[in-house]
């Protein structure tokens, strides 16, 4: 009977509206612009070496093996976070979780699309903005385009991806996004110095 109820309701219920954190927030300062990025599909992928080939094939992007690197193809980016860990971000609405589901090789794929918020930091002062709270060396020779790393911004953990010589993608957990955006906003005021 409850089953019946459930079936009936399926028609009636309007799908829930998605309300991303900080949706659409932006900020511009001398030399740098911040923008909260639209929702994306994300998985945390864990796997031993032996499974990397199969997973790369399924995902359509070659999982990088080199520390602090990333690989991107067709709107899908795989970031090396650890020796057996990748963050896969899909910005064109395809579901990497479903792709991995096909793979029989040993791995763990967990959906985290809603766990993270992406913020873009762009402009000549982008690196300086991030360096106001991030202790890594962000010069182009040490942190080149495509470099990706989990690290620290102020008092929280972020994942940092350099998308161009003057552009970064900052990923953080949902409940830290307000802190991160506020921190970057304050830093941006001073970044041109």
């Amino acid at each position: 009977m409850a089953k019946a109820a459930a079936k009936k309701s399926a028609v009636a219920v309007p799908p829930a509206e998605r309300r991303p954190a900080l949706a659409g927030q932006e900020l511009s300062a001398t030399g740098v612009t911040l923008a909260v990025l639209p929702p994306a599909e994300r998985i945390s992928l864990r796997a031993p070496d032996a499974s990397v080939a199969a997973l790369s094939k399924a995902l359509g992007v070659t999982l990088p093996r080199k520390p602090k690197t990333s690989a991107a193809k067709a709107g899908r980016t795989a970031l090396w976070l650890g020796p057996d860990e990748w963050l896969v971000i899909d910005e064109v609405g395809k579901d990497p979780l479903a792709d991995c589901a096909e793979v029989t090789a040993l791995h763990s794929a967990v959906g985290i699309s809603h766990r993270n918020v992406g913020i873009s930091v762009t402009g000549p002062a982008a690196a300086a903005t991030i360096n106001s709270g991030c202790p890594q060396d962000l010069s182009l020779d040490v942190f080149p385009v495509g470099a990706a790393s989990r690290t620290i911004l102020g008092k929280v953990e972020i994942v940092l991806l350099r998308t161009a010589s003057d552009a970064f993608r900052v990923e953080c957990w949902r409940s830290f996004s307000d802190y991160v955006f506020t921190f970057l906003s304050e830093a941006a005021r001073d970044a041109a110095a």
């Binding site: 520390p67 976070l81 650890g82 020796p83 860990e85 202790p135 890594q136 989990r150 690290t151 620290i152």
Partner: protein
């Protein structure tokens, strides 16, 4: 703030990304339930706390998230080397380089 070479990330990273995890090479007995009170005390509480060379564990908490081992001089805080978890305790140490 120390600068620590992560053996997995293969580069030096700022201490802020790391968390110290105490003395290294203190193995948990596979038959821990059968250990004597003395053995358990040694395993869980007694530490060498050396003034000089220490073998210690770190986690690259906010980096690759791996635990690894380091050899450090507790007087100068200088790292002699770092190596991956599970690798044997090094018998030869690199000369106390700057």
């Amino acid at each position: 703030m120390l600068l620590i070479r992560c053996p997995y990330c293969e580069e030096e990273r700022p201490e802020l990304e790391f968390r110290n995890a105490g003395e290294a090479h203190i193995a948990r007995s596979p038959n821990i339930a059968g250990e004597s009170d003395d053995d358990f005390e040694k395993f869980f509480f007694i530490r060498s706390n050396p003034k000089g060379i220490i073998y210690e564990r770190w986690r690259h908490m906010h980096g690759c998230a791996r635990f690894f081992n380091a050899v450090r001089d507790t007087v100068s805080d200088r790292f002699l080397m770092t190596y991956k978890a599970g690798e044997p305790k090094p018998t030869k140490l690199p000369g106390a380089a700057k």
